[in-house]
Amino acid sequence: MGTATAPAPAPATRKPATMAQALRQAMRDALAEDRDVHVMGEDVGTLGGVFRVTDGLAAEFGPERVTDTPLAEAGILGTAVGMAMYGLRPVVEMQFDAFAYPAMEQLISHVSRMRNRTRGALPMPITIRVPYGGGIGGVEHHSDSSEAYYLHTPGLHVVTPATVADAYGLLRAAIASDDPVVFLEPKRLYWGKADWSADAPETVPPLGRAVVRRAGTSATLITYGPSVPVCLEAAEAARQEGWDLEVVDLRSLMPFDDETVCASVRRTGRAIVVHESAGFCGTGAEIAARVSERCFHHLEAPVLRVAGFDIPYPPPMLERHHLPGVDRVLDAVARLQWEGN
């Protein structure tokens, strides 16, 4: 995938860090190591971003490396394309998921196609950071999950971390990639803490590797980003019902790790895909379709999907009814055609 793994870990003491901190550290290390890396977007400089993910970077690297742009998403991504044509590695921030839509034209028509158009002469090593997803009480346009649009666009990689360590490792790999990576940051995991060391970040596999977060035998929950903690919680809860659920965290949606996913489903014989975005033509559709095809003779039950409803993202006071939660996951598990059902 043309990606680098993070630098080899040196022994260091871990202490609690948030995902936001790990992301910041990843950008800081990339900025320090490679003068071609540039961070740009709305409010990423002086303010440090509305989520403070880029806090301190402008002070450390100056406004030419960490740049507050005019307020225009197509312009941000379009100028990043030109910068990449000249050999820079822009790391672009879209302030919120829904505010990336004005940049769709640049993304689809140029970012994803420039390498192919020019037979490799103009690769697009651009990382597009997009805080995404709901569950933070955001008003309209602040809680979208738009990964399916990106996944349906050949030429893009799509990556989303669910842990503090992955946030660091995947963002380093994304920035190091010679291809454009849409890097989706689950907003509601920004402030979750884990023991982690900035001095000795774990190495991570190249983009495109899923990981089994919890081994199990009854069924596989296939998920990513903000739904990973939900699935882990559901798996814990399911033990009481006698189900031992395996949880696969995809981490990278494109490339998609067929191997890990199918190996798990063939083992368990049952699968549920869980994600927040609308179900229709969503990530879960692709996963259910390919798992159903590839694991057909291993399946004891149809692959089910637990996804957001096919409605515009709801107002904050109603969002909990929309978001796939533990109960909805468990309901789906119960529908997996168990003996005696």
């Binding site: 307020l71 004005p102 096919d310």
Partner: protein, 401 residues
């Protein structure tokens, strides 16, 4: 590919006005202007409109403190004042509600009340207002219920008022995207023969978006009855104007669309009101769109969640506090004897009453029906949504058991 020797390379630009006109001996007889026959200008060209009148005011237009203010209707000045005081109070109350967890977030217009209020009062009943996400106050000044205007920010639904009934478009969160809507609506009204004007609000940051450009261009080409008010409050969240534009003023953008630009002191409520009324009536009379830039300042942080000390000093805010829209108008009214202490107390009491009512209404827990999530996606639920609604219904029933 070689660079030619023709380029001066100095970066100096030969203006047409400065064109070398001293002709030496020329092969063909020159005309009086030095050009020779057979060498014609491009056939189709003429300046399409005279740019002169499109250029904005040289200085922000002001009324307060100038002799012209004497010609204004005292009743209007008092009305503006009452609305400013009410608006200031509304901003304070809404911010307080965020602290009490009654509002998810509130982008305050403290310091910008003159623009908000003047925009609302410049419209006739048949006109439409197209607010940006920050313009709750303009929405309220137009007559929308103060609590309903906050629905979006409280989070019980997206838009809390009926746009058709109130002739106020939903507060638009994606910046500048409401501007083409205003153009389309104004154009539609004109096609129907109605004398409706649309007034659209946008921030200085929003002028950088492509939708700003496309909207202004459509408006000018269609001569749509629409007025664009840019509230230049100095910041887009943390980004100051000089990282947003290099233009002489935002009002200068008008020239490039072939519409007039106006520049006004955005804290001078009568001046903003007058400039907007003129633009609105100009549009109504068939004169087409106007771009108005109001110079003002966002005295509060971007929202209650923002920390403005990260990107500006209090020293920058101070002079703007001295140029406060409420204080400016109050001074004028007092100097003219149009209001006294009792009058001011009455205005403040009315504002307090509004705030108390708002508090009360916002403290009541909204009654929400989760099933409504499926009700308005389409005119009629698709079979897909019927299934999903049934699923949620079953879940809710199970919860209740």
């Amino acid at each position: 590919m070689a660079r030619s020797s023709l380029a001066s390379g100095t970066g100096k630009r030969a203006r047409s006005a400065e064109r070398p006109s001293s002709g030496q001996g020329r092969p063909a007889a020159a005309r009086p202007d030095g050009t020779r026959p057979g060498h014609t200008p491009p056939p189709d060209w003429r300046p399409r409109v005279d740019p002169g009148p499109l250029l904005p005011d040289r200085e922000p237009y002001r009324l307060l403190g100038t002799p012209a203010v004497a010609d204004l209707d005292p009743q209007l000045l008092r009305e503006l004042y009452g609305q400013l005081v009410r608006g200031r109070r509304y901003n304070r109350q809404a911010t307080a509600l965020t602290q009490q967890g009654r509002l998810a977030v509130y982008p305050s217009t403290t310091g910008q009340e003159a623009c908000e209020v003047a925009a609302a009062l410049a419209l006739r009943p048949q006109d439409w207002l197209f607010p940006s996400y920050r313009d709750t106050l303009a929405v309220v000044a137009r007559g929308v219920d103060p609590a309903e205007a906050l629905t979006l920010l409280r989070g019980d639904w997206h838009s809390g008022y009926d746009p058709r009934a109130t002739k106020v478009a939903p507060l638009s969160t994606p910046l500048a995207t409401q501007l083409p809507h205003a153009v389309g609506l104004a154009h539609a009204a004109r096609l129907r023969g109605d004398d409706t004007v649309a007034l659209a609000l946008v921030g200085d940051g929003g002028t950088s978006e492509g939708d700003f450009h496309e909207a202004l261009n459509f408006a000018a080409v269609w001569k749509a009855p629409v007025v664009f008010l840019v509230q230049n409050n100095g910041f887009a969240i943390s980004v100051p104007l000089d990282k947003q534009t290099a233009a002489p003023s935002l009002a200068h953008k008008a020239v490039g669309y072939g519409m007039p630009g106006r520049l006004v002191d955005g804290n001078d409520a009568p001046a903003v009101h007058q400039v907007l009324c003129e633009a609105v009536e100009h549009a109504r009379a068939g004169g087409g769109p106007t771009l108005v830039e109001a110079l003002t300042y966002r005295v509060d942080a971007h929202t209650n969640a923002d920390d403005a000390t990260r990107y500006r000093d209090d020293a920058e805010v101070e002079p703007w506090r001295a140029h406060d829209p409420v204080a400016l108008l109050e001074r004028e009214l007092r100097e003219r004897g149009l209001i006294d202490d009792a009058g001011i107390r009455a205005v403040e009491a009315a504002a307090e009453e509004m705030a108390a009512r708002l508090r009360e209404e916002m403290n009541a827990e909204p009654v929400l029906d989760p099933m409504e999530l499926f009700d308005h996606v389409y005119a009629e639920k698709t079979s897909q949504l019927r299934e999903q609604a049934a699923q949620l219904r079953a879940e809710l029933d199970a919860e209740e058991e």
